[in-house]
C-alpha cells in the first residue's frame, strides 16, 4: 500500500513539473547528480554472465559515473549482477569515470562518434545536444515493454520531438539538511517553518558562534542549490521555470530582489566565509563534523548521511521556507529526474542494448532507492519499508510537491548554463547585486 501511495504521489508530482523540460527540452550541462566527486577514479569492470548454452556472446559496453566512492556505486554493481545473470548471451563491460572528467570524456566520444553502447547522461539539455547530433538511439520501441512500470511523466526530461531517448534512474530534489543536535543546543526542536523564524534561528546560531550554512564556492552548482531555492520561494516556480526554459527573459525585478535576499544572507555572515575556497566534499565533511547547522544540497546525500552511524540520527531534511507567500508556496521544489542511461545510435547491437538499458535502469533505480540515493523514477515493485528515514522524509516532501523546477544548469543549454553559473559566482562573491545579475543575464542570455 505504502509503495503504491508513494508511486502515485511521485508520478502525480512529476506531471506538475514536466511542463519544465516537457517534450522538447533545450540543452544543458553540469548536473550535480552524483554526490561524491571521486579523485580521478576510473574503474573498468567486466562482468561475464553465466555461460550461454549456445551461440556467440554479444559485447555491450557501458560508461557511467558510479566510481568506487560514489554513493550510487552499490546500486550499479547490484543491478549489473542481476541483469547480466538474466542475459547470459551478453558479455557486459563497464567503466566508471569521475563526474567532472566524465562530462569531457562523453562529449569527446560523441564528437568522434566513438561512444560505448550504453552511457550515463544527464537529461534535458545535456542529452539534447547528443540527440540533435543524431548520436542517440531512439528507445520508443523498447519503451513499449516497460510503459506500465516507467510512467510517461518520468520520461519527459529525456523526450525530444515526442521521441524517447533516455531511461531515467532516480530523481532528486534540493533539500535543506539540518543538524538537529546543533539546533537543539539553541532551543529549536524542529527546522523553522517560516522564513522569519528561519532568519531568527540563523541569528541565534550566529550569536552562539555557530555558522548557519556551509556552501562550496569552488563548485558553483552548490551555490545554485541555495540561490535557486531562494528565487523559487520568492518568485514562484512558474517564473523560474519560464526563465530557465527561455519562455521569459531574466529581466525580472522579482528575481533581482530575490538575488538581493540571497546576497543579504551572505552579507549577514550566515555562510561560512571559508566555504568559497572549498569543494563540495570538504563542505559536506564539515557539515557532518558539526561545523554548520544547515546544508542545502541534493537529496542524493541522504544515503551518505543516513549511512553514517554517528551523524545519521542527528540530521533531518526539510523544505526551504517560503519567502514571499504572495508568489510562492510550500511544495515548489528544485529538482526532478535527471540521471539517465542512453544508448548510442552507433551501437552494433542497439536493439539488445536498448532492452538491456531498460532492465538495468529499472534495477539501478530499485537498488538506488533502497540505498537512499534518490527517489524512484520507476514504479517500485518491492516493499520499501526499510528505506532510511531521510529518504522517507524526502518522499513525503515530494508527495506534497506542487511544482518542480529542474536545476538551472541542467535545464539550460551548455553555453547559457555556464554564463548563468558565472553570474551566480559573482553574486556569491558579492561582485554584483540583484540588479547587476538580471541585467547581465538579460544581456548575455536574454
Amino acid at each position: 500500500m505504502k509503495k503504491k501511495i508513494l508511486a502515485t504521489l511521485l508520478a502525480g508530482a512529476m506531471v506538475l513539473s514536466l511542463a519544465a523540460c516537457g517534450s522538447t527540452p533545450a540543452a544543458s550541462t553540469e548536473t550535480p547528480a552524483a554526490s561524491t566527486e571521486a579523485p580521478a577514479a576510473s574503474t573498468e569492470t567486466s562482468v561475464e554472465a553465466p555461460a550461454a548454452d549456445a551461440g556467440e556472446k554479444v559485447d555491450l559496453e557501458m560508461w557511467c559515473i558510479a566510481t568506487e566512492s560514489d554513493s550510487n556505486r552499490h546500486s550499479y554493481e547490484a543491478a549489473i549482477a542481476d541483469v547480466t545473470a538474466a542475459h547470459p548471451e551478453v558479455n557486459f563491460t563497464w567503466e566508471a569515470i569521475e563526474n567532472q572528467a566524465y562530462k569531457t570524456k562523453i562529449k569527446a566520444a560523441v564528437a568522434a562518434d566513438e561512444m560505448p553502447d550504453i552511457f550515463f547522461t544527464w537529461s534535458c539539455a545535456f542529452l539534447g545536444d547528443f540527440v540533435d547530433a543524431g548520436r542517440v538511439y531512439c528507445l520508443d520501441d523498447a519503451y513499449e515493454t516497460w510503459k506500465s512500470e516507467l510512467p510517461e511523466s518520468m520520461m519527459g526530461n529525456s523526450t525530444y520531438g515526442g521521441k524517447h531517448y533516455g531511461v531515467p534512474l532516480t530523481m532528486n530534489i534540493v533539500g535543506l539538511f539540518a543538524n538537529m543536535e546543533i539546533l537543539k543546543s539553541i532551543g529549536y526542536d524542529a527546522v523553522p517553518g517560516t522564513y522569519e523564524e528561519f532568519i531568527a534561528c540563523c541569528d541565534a546560531l550566529k550569536a552562539a558562534g555557530i555558522i548557519p550554512f556551509g556552501c562550496a564556492g569552488k563548485e558553483t552548482w552548490c551555490v545554485t542549490e541555495y540561490l535557486e531555492s531562494v528565487i523559487e520561494k520568492s518568485c514562484g516556480a512558474d517564473t523560474l521555470n519560464d526563465i530557465f526554459l527561455g519562455k521569459a527573459t531574466w529581466n525580472n525585478d522579482d528575481v533581482a530582489s530575490a538575488v538581493d535576499t540571497f546576497q543579504g544572507l551572505v552579507n549577514n555572515g550566515y555562510f561560512d566565509p571559508e566555504g568559497i575556497a572549498l569543494s563540495n566534499d570538504e563542505v559536506k565533511a564539515n557539515f557532518m563534523a558539526g561545523k554548520y547547522a544547515f546544508y542545502m544540497n541534493g537529496t542524493w546525500n541522504c544515503a551518505d548521511f543516513a549511512g553514517n552511524a554517528e551523524f545519521g540520527p542527528k540530521v533531518q531534511v526539510a523544505e526551504f521556507p517560503v519567502i514571499n507567500a504572495d508568489k510562492a508556496t510550500l511544495g515548489q521544489l528544485i529538482g526532478g529526474p535527471s540521471d539517465t542511461l542512453a544508448v548510442a545510435a552507433s551501437s552494433k547491437n542497439a536493439e539488445l542494448a536498448a532492452t538491456f538499458t531498460f532492465e538495468l535502469g529499472r534495477e539501478i533505480c530499485h537498488y538506488g532507492y533502497l540505498d537512499g540515493c534518490g527517489l524512484p523514477a520507476w514504479t517500485p515493485y518491492y516493499e520499501a519499508a526499510g528505506i532510511n528515514p531521510l529518504t522517507q522524509a524526502v518522499a513525503e516532501i515530494c508527495a506534497n510537491a506542487k511544482a518542480y523546477v529542474l536545476f538551472g544548469d541542467t535545464a539550460m543549454n551548455a553555453d547559457s548554463a555556464n554564463t548563468y553559473l558565472s553570474y551566480v559566482d559573482q553574486v556569491y562573491g558579492c561582485a554584483i547585486d540583484g540588479a547587476g545579475f538580471v541585467a547581465g543575464l538579460t544581456n548575455d542570455i536574454g
Binding site: 550541462t29 562529449k107 568559497i276 575556497a277 551548455a414 559573482q426 561582485a431 547581465g440
Partner: protein
C-alpha cells in the same frame, strides 16, 4: 656523381619522412584545423556555420568571456617567471655549479618538484592553503599574525598570488637543471685564468659564466614565457580559474569554451591566439638575445 647525390637526397628524404609525417599529423594539422574551425560557430557534434572573423571579434570585445583579463594574468605569470623564477634558478645553478659539498643531493632535491605530478602538487598546495587547517594559516596564527591569515584561494585579492607561488616554485628545479648543465660546460681553464687574474666568484659568474651560457638562458626564457602563456594544470586543480575569474588564464578559458560551453569554434579561436602569442614571444625573445650578441 649527380645520380649518387640524387640517391642520397632520396634516402635522406625517406629517413626523414616518418618523423615529418608524425610532426605534420600531430602538430601542424591540428594547428591548421584549429585555425579553420575558428571561423565557424560549431559544437563539435552538430552542424557548423561559417561566421568569418566573428569569433575573433567576440573574443576581443566581449567582457563576459574576459580574454584580456586572462591574458593579463598569463603575462604577469610570464613576467614573474622571467624576473623571479629564472634569477632564483640561475642563482642555485651558479651555486651548485661551483661544486659545493652535497651538490648531487641538492640537485635532486631542487629537481624533485618537476618529477612530481602537477595534480599531486596541486593537492599538496590545496592543503597548505586550507583556511582552517592549512599550514600557512596555522603558522601565521601561531606567530600571532592572525590578521594575515586569509582564505588564500577563495579571495579575489590573494588567489592569483596563491596560484602563482606553486607554479613558479614547481619549475625552479627545471630551469635550474638546464642552467646547471650550462654552468658545468664552462671550460675550467677560463675559470682558472680569471682566478689567477684575481677575479672574485661574482666577477667570474658575471663576466664569464653568464655570457657563456647565454644560449641556454635564451632557451630558459623562451620556455618560461611560453610555459606561462600555456599554464593550465596547476591553476585548474587549485582554483579552476576562480574565484570570480580572478585566476583565469587563456588555457582555462579555452577548456571552459570547449568542454563546458560546447563552443568549439570559440575554443579553437583561443587556441589559435595562444599559438600565435607563443610564436610571437619566442621570436621577440630570440631577436632580443640576437641584438644583445
Amino acid at each position: 656523381m649527380k645520380k649518387k647525390k640524387l640517391i642520397n637526397g632520396i634516402n635522406v628524404f625517406l629517413f626523414l619522412l616518418p618523423g615529418l609525417a608524425l610532426f605534420i599529423g600531430i602538430l601542424i594539422a591540428p594547428i591548421v584545423l584549429s585555425g579553420y574551425y575558428s571561423f565557424f560557430d560549431m559544437n563539435a557534434y552538430g552542424a557548423k556555420e561559417y561566421i568569418g572573423l566573428a569569433n575573433y571579434k567576440e573574443l576581443f570585445s566581449s567582457t563576459a568571456i574576459g580574454f584580456f583579463k586572462a591574458l593579463k594574468n598569463s603575462l604577469l605569470l610570464a613576467a614573474l617567471s622571467v624576473f623571479v623564477q629564472l634569477p632564483v634558478s640561475l642563482g642555485i645553478a651558479l651555486l651548485l655549479g661551483k661544486g659545493i659539498k652535497g651538490e648531487r643531493a641538492f640537485l635532486s632535491i631542487y629537481f624533485m618538484p618537476v618529477l612530481i605530478s602537477t595534480v599531486v602538487i596541486g593537492q599538496l598546495w590545496l592543503k597548505i592553503y586550507n583556511p582552517s587547517y592549512g599550514i600557512l594559516n596555522v603558522c601565521l596564527r601561531g606567530l600571532g599574525l592572525d590578521n594575515l591569515a586569509k582564505i588564500w584561494l577563495g579571495t579575489k585579492e590573494t588567489a592569483l598570488g596563491a596560484v602563482f607561488a606553486p607554479t613558479l616554485w614547481q619549475y625552479v628545479g627545471y630551469h635550474m637543471l638546464l642552467l646547471y648543465a650550462g654552468v658545468k660546460s664552462v671550460p675550467l681553464e677560463l675559470r682558472e685564468a680569471a682566478m689567477l687574474d684575481g677575479a672574485t666568484d661574482g666577477q667570474i659568474n658575471r663576466y664569464i659564466v653568464i655570457p657563456y651560457i647565454k644560449g641556454i638562458l635564451k632557451v630558459s626564457v623562451i620556455f618560461a614565457v611560453t610555459g606561462s602563456l600555456k599554464s593550465f594544470d596547476l591553476i585548474y586543480v587549485l582554483t579552476n580559474g576562480g574565484p570570480l575569474h580572478a585566476t583565469e588564464v587563456p588555457s582555462t578559458l579555452m577548456i571552459n569554451m570547449l568542454f563546458l560551453r560546447n563552443r568549439y569554434g570559440m575554443g579553437s579561436t583561443i587556441a589559435v591566439m595562444l599559438i600565435l602569442l607563443c610564436f610571437a614571444f619566442a621570436l621577440v625573445i630570440s631577436a632580443i638575445f640576437k641584438q644583445e650578441d
